[in-house]
Amino acid sequence: MSRKDRLRAWIVSNGHRVDSSTLADDTPLLEQRILTSLQLAELLLFLEELRERPVDLEGITGSSFRDLRSMVAAFLPEEAHAS
């Protein structure tokens, strides 16, 4: 399973009102309240684990979490280039 697929699985498992058939790369996760701001700390920990290095937290904003594609670009850039 790619890291992007693992991230997708995390969102499906922890998100509200979403399943794997409805989650697209550009589904607006915060706007549709699939994820809440209180879940972002846990998500950051998961992203750090996936990328095997810490995230530089200064400068992180909500736009990095807008959708799956934004998250991959912000936190898993190697996956963005691979896909």
Partner: protein
Amino acid sequence: MLYAVAEKLSARSAEQPVRPELPWVDRMDGAWCTSPELISIYGLPAWDALSEDQQQKLSFHECANFFALNIHGERALMEGLARRLYKKELADVAHYIHHFLAEENQHMTWFGGFCRRYAGGIYADRKLVLPRTYAPGEEDVLFFAKVLVFELVVDAFNQRMAKDDRLHPLVREINRRHHEDESRHLAFGRLVVEELWRRHASAWSEETRAGVRTYIAAYLDATWREYFNPDVYKDAGLAKPYELAREAFASAPARARMDEIGARTTRILRELELLS
């Protein structure tokens, strides 16, 4: 009621004698800095597998994390309080808010002083607050309710660690001083939440009221989660820190400990109708 209590609390803050500088030491080695029973992995096989030296090292990093959580919580508190100073709704208690701010600022110098001297820095804050829309008064209710949750949880740790004579005297003293001030802040915070809820919640839809309760329950959970920090485990030399943090947070011993330490927090939030 709120005004009268704020005046009394202001008088008590003003009576507080100037505290001497903390008894800083050169190094913080070979000492317990967190009560073992309050350590996030206490009661788990990962804890039992550590030597006493390793347990003490973990107790130091857990203490640095606890102090970092206080810094991040108090920074957000100071920002929010400063923004609300002299707002019409709180103008009568502005005098006490000035004391509150001064005391929080002093606390941060203790926590920051400890972390920078002995831990080489401050563990990062992973919380993010995103802009959203609120019903009238909802943002203020949530702000003060979050402050209350944060302060109730840290105060439960402060009270226990201030009395634990196994801990390094400097750590005990920081916990003792913090508890001394927090008891006033908690009295004020509880009344503010009660007053703001009374003023605003009846005008909200049932959906908004339920949303506030859901949010506070999630905030309480997220607050506890921060006590299980993989950065701490990494610095203490523990294997698979992210996995350990996740598993420890979900474990039965940790759940029982959070229930026990957090009993007062839960009771007060229920009394305020902020938790179902």
